[in-house]
Symmetry: C2
Subunit: 558 residues, 2 copies
């Protein structure tokens, strides 16, 4: 088996003609469920990373009997992805199924991340890993089994997480003396270990990160957005002073923001959570909030200043420069596979997925076109040489030279899969030593360019420029969409009207937690954040007409 | 927090003066336990990846009360690592503790992989990931919760794995209807999904890999070698023909062999497992066997030809080119964090860890030496410029400019941590524009070179050559050690004598499974493999004096 194998991406050539998730309700937003949230208010801070509010979520069913038997699958893409404009939720599930991003696992609420979806996650990892290391963090790994007693040590933490725990009670055929929690997050076990590693101020700051799976027993699941098990990175740091911890929490939300804007082309709003929405165990939670294509908010990443909440619960202390024992000041921060759901719902259109070039597993797909055997030989030779040229230039390229599909089928297929740039090479192109390119972000003739030279330097230059353009256009579009859907409000009536229209409402807020809860119950919207970017001048609370220091953004959310 | 933080490796400057694992018995090899093995024979094939035979393993205790309170830790490295020559097991645990490779988790048998240990794992991942992708495999992710009923579908698989399962029985506060297995390996859930993705021969081969955590409820644990939870990669492939599956299984064991030899400098023996030692569910298991410093064998990676065992149990079928339904032919293959234990136990010496340059998180440590403030400024300026030069050349370099430790302390510390090359820069070196280097593999004067020019090209060239030399020397040494400890035997008496001396015995074997079991019970040695590299000529079974097709290697093992 010396020769390279067919890349697994080629399995994508046989899209399933059934809709494996068609059994999912493609329901419109279901009513908000204040009771379930009220029962565990302190959890919502971290919810960004697996759940938060609960509108518009489908309940999962098993699809294990949806297998095909008999004939090889027939291409049946026309009409198989519900247009986004018709039913956003159905579109989302269709895109995930047809673009082969993910599939359901056999256990309710679990997800299999397929190669095309996982490759997006790898690109997220590659970017963030470099940033984490540049800022002095080291990767490591903590066990996923946590003694149940640990979870109980920090009061608001146990209140937030205990309803959603998966518990191991049997090991090696025996009932365990103490139940083990399958980690929902690792602050408790991290602190347990930090107490053993931190002795003096010279051991600080201690700054680590882990890439891991986490488990939260969600009742309502949705692929990528909220699953029983998901993948994430969780950073944990300990510092000698509260100022340093605050600086770190801000540094990390800033890294997430840059990642969202510059790589995922998602123009997030960076801000601080309200007290009600702060993570279970944090003193302050910073968040990045993204507007999805249906205008609902997605909490796409969070960074928590944990203060001394966990260090006091676990006794994580150090001896300072004066020989005094002090509790450390901590942070934690995370981004999860939920982010992939955010990418899909920000950029996709009726035709399917649309991926920003910097995050796309395939940046350029080359579709060779021929009729005769002679043409085929000449075209494939040119295509192979173009492929090498682009790969050498560091461009992620895929040649679809399968014989089972027509070029037209391939155009639709790779469009549905969101590949930013398509290159067509036919016999006449070969004769002229040129190619045709088509942009995913500009359908039809508009995004099509003819007569692009095959000459290496020119071709690479063309591709790079187009990819840069597409990256920029996606961010611009999402920014314009977001900005046109945020309404400045000065009263509760205006807020209600904005939310009823499906928009985000931004207005001055200094009212109580109870008032915040009332807005949630009456409108389905929560405070997404107090944005860092604040208008200048005096402000009056939209609810109480009292002076307000800041504006808050209210929205329905995933 | 704009400036880069201190890298977390600097926490390594404060090694704990206690031995956190001192509570572990540093026992000599304990008697072999044939009963426990006999109760689940079919499991042993995969055991390489978390356990296998069971001699010399300590039972874990909690060390959570070993925390230091009060004074900052004092350097106390002298004598703190038990010399390898005195007690191999105590040395191994000391090295892991003092080099800060890992620590115990709060749950019995679990392990925290610390940054220095995890960085070795990242280097393993970086190499293998490229090889896997080059050979056409895609990464993806399967859920870790598997319905209990899945495990029962393949007869020998359930027999092998059921004694070691961790079971989730409670989720979201409720007793679950079906217990969930926390994956011990993923063949069952992979097949469940493959049935949904594989329809025709055009969907084959399907070749995937995942990097994941797995759980096996081991009773006897040892850091890296055998832990309740460990990290690994598991590859899974499906093919249209048995020949292709066999070719794939061989291709992957070949990749593991090259990795072991060329990167980890571990001269493994590649071979086939006996029927008794084959993985629970495989038709054939290929293995790489490494000789540790105490001459015990470590199964360091395996590749299984699964035949149609799982595809028949799960109904994983495809329609072939003639329209006939066929079961697919499969493989699976894995390397785990156990490999890190193998690196430690292959190359370490009395002074501690010794890392092959290609796998070392730090390849060069620079120790600046000064007395006066003027000297300090000049030395650190030179060191900083050297650091930049080496980093730019892609060399992993660490400057230890801490003021709390003497240069002598630092020399010992980084030697214990196994850094391949040390560079010393003092005021006289700066004046002469030269540096001094010391090789980890050649202690004292022997490995020391003076007057190496600071000039960039010359310095980089010197460092590269020394690192290459060290890499080669480590492999040569381990190969010579291995070869001098394999005895060719022609009778059972000779085999027993070789094993009693602690060596590996290689001899012709065509006896029964029962005879193989007898050898195990009487000597503590198992058949590690039938090596691919076979002596030519006719052979007579060492046990039965019947003709034998192959020689087998017998050894005690981890």
């Amino acid at each position: 088996m010396g020769a390279a194998r067919l890349p697994s991406l080629t399995i994508l050539r046989s899209p399933s003609p059934v809709k494996p998730w068609a059994c999912f309700s493609s329901s419109k937003s279901t009513p908000f469920l204040p009771q379930s949230l009220r029962s565990r208010p302190a959890r919502r801070g971290r919810t960004c990373l697996s759940r938060s509010s609960s509108s518009g979520i489908s309940t999962q069913s098993l699809t294990k009997d949806d297998k095909l038997h008999g004939d090889p699958p027939k291409p049946n893409l026309d009409g198989s992805v519900t247009p986004r404009s018709v039913d956003f939720n159905a579109w989302y599930l269709d895109v995930i199924a047809h673009a082969e991003l993910a599939d359901y696992g056999p256990v309710r609420g679990t997800m299999v991340i397929r190669p095309y979806g996982y490759a997006i996650w790898e690109n997220i990892q590659d970017y963030l890993n470099v940033k984490f290391k540049e800022t002095g963090h080291s990767n490591m790994y903590f066990p996923q089994f946590i003694p149940f007693s640990f979870i109980e040590k920090e009061a608001s933490h146990v209140e937030g997480f205990s309803p959603e725990l998966a518990l191991v009670t049997i090991g090696g055929g025996k009932e365990l003396e103490e139940k083990l929690v399958v980690r929902p997050t690792s602050e408790t076990i991290v602190n347990h270990m930090f107490t053993q590693w931190i002795h003096s101020y010279r051991d600080l700051p201690l700054m680590i990160n882990q890439w891991a799976n986490v488990t939260r027993w969600e009742m309502r699941t949705k692929p990528f957005i909220r699953t029983l098990e998901f993948l994430w990175q969780e950073g944990h740091t300990a510092h000698a002073t509260p100022e340093e911890a605050e600086e770190e929490a801000l540094q990390m939300i800033d890294i997430y923001t840059k990642f969202a804007n510059e790589v995922a082309a998602i123009p997030v709003v960076m801000g601080r959570k309200s007290k009600v929405e702060t993570f279970a165990g944090a003193s302050r939670t910073y968040t990045i909030e993204a507007m999805m294509g249906d205008r609902k908010a997605l909490q796409a990443g969070t960074s928590h200043n944990l203060g001394q909440n966990f260090s006091r619960a676990f006794g994580t202390q150090f001896t300072d420069e004066n020989g005094q024992r002090q509790h450390v000041w901590q942070t934690s921060w995370a981004i999860s596979t939920r982010f992939i759901g955010g990418i899909i719902m920000t950029h996709g259109d009726d035709a399917g997925l649309m991926l920003p070039p910097k995050i796309a597993p395939v940046q350029v797909v080359i579709v060779p076109i021929w009729k005769t055997a002679d043409e085929k030989a000449a075209v494939l030779e040119s295509v192979s040489s173009i492929e090498t040229t682009l790969k050498t230039a560091g461009i992620r390229v895929k040649v679809d030279d399968s014989e089972q599909r027509t070029p037209g089928w391939k155009f639709n297929f790779w469009e549905m899969k969101g590949v930013p740039l398509r290159m067509e090479v036919g016999p006449r192109d070969v004769a002229k030593r040129t190619v045709v390119t088509s942009r995913r972000d500009a359908p039809g003739k508009q995004g099509k360019e003819f007569g692009i030279s095959m000459e290496s330097a020119e071709l690479v230059n063309h591709v790079r420029q187009r990819l840069d353009d597409i990256q920029a256009v996606l961010l611009e579009r999402a920014t314009a969409f977001r900005d046109s859907n945020i309404v400045d409000v000065t009263s509760y009536e205006e807020l209600k009207a904005a939310i009823a229209e499906g928009k985000w409402a931004r207005g001055p807020w200094s009212a109580s937690d109870a008032e915040e809860q009332r807005v949630k119950e009456e409108t389905g919207a929560t405070i997404r954040c107090f944005p860092f970017d604040q208008p200048v001048g005096p402000k009056t609370c939209l609810m109480t007409s009292q002076p307000a220091a800041e504006v808050a953004i209210f929205a329905k959310s995933y």
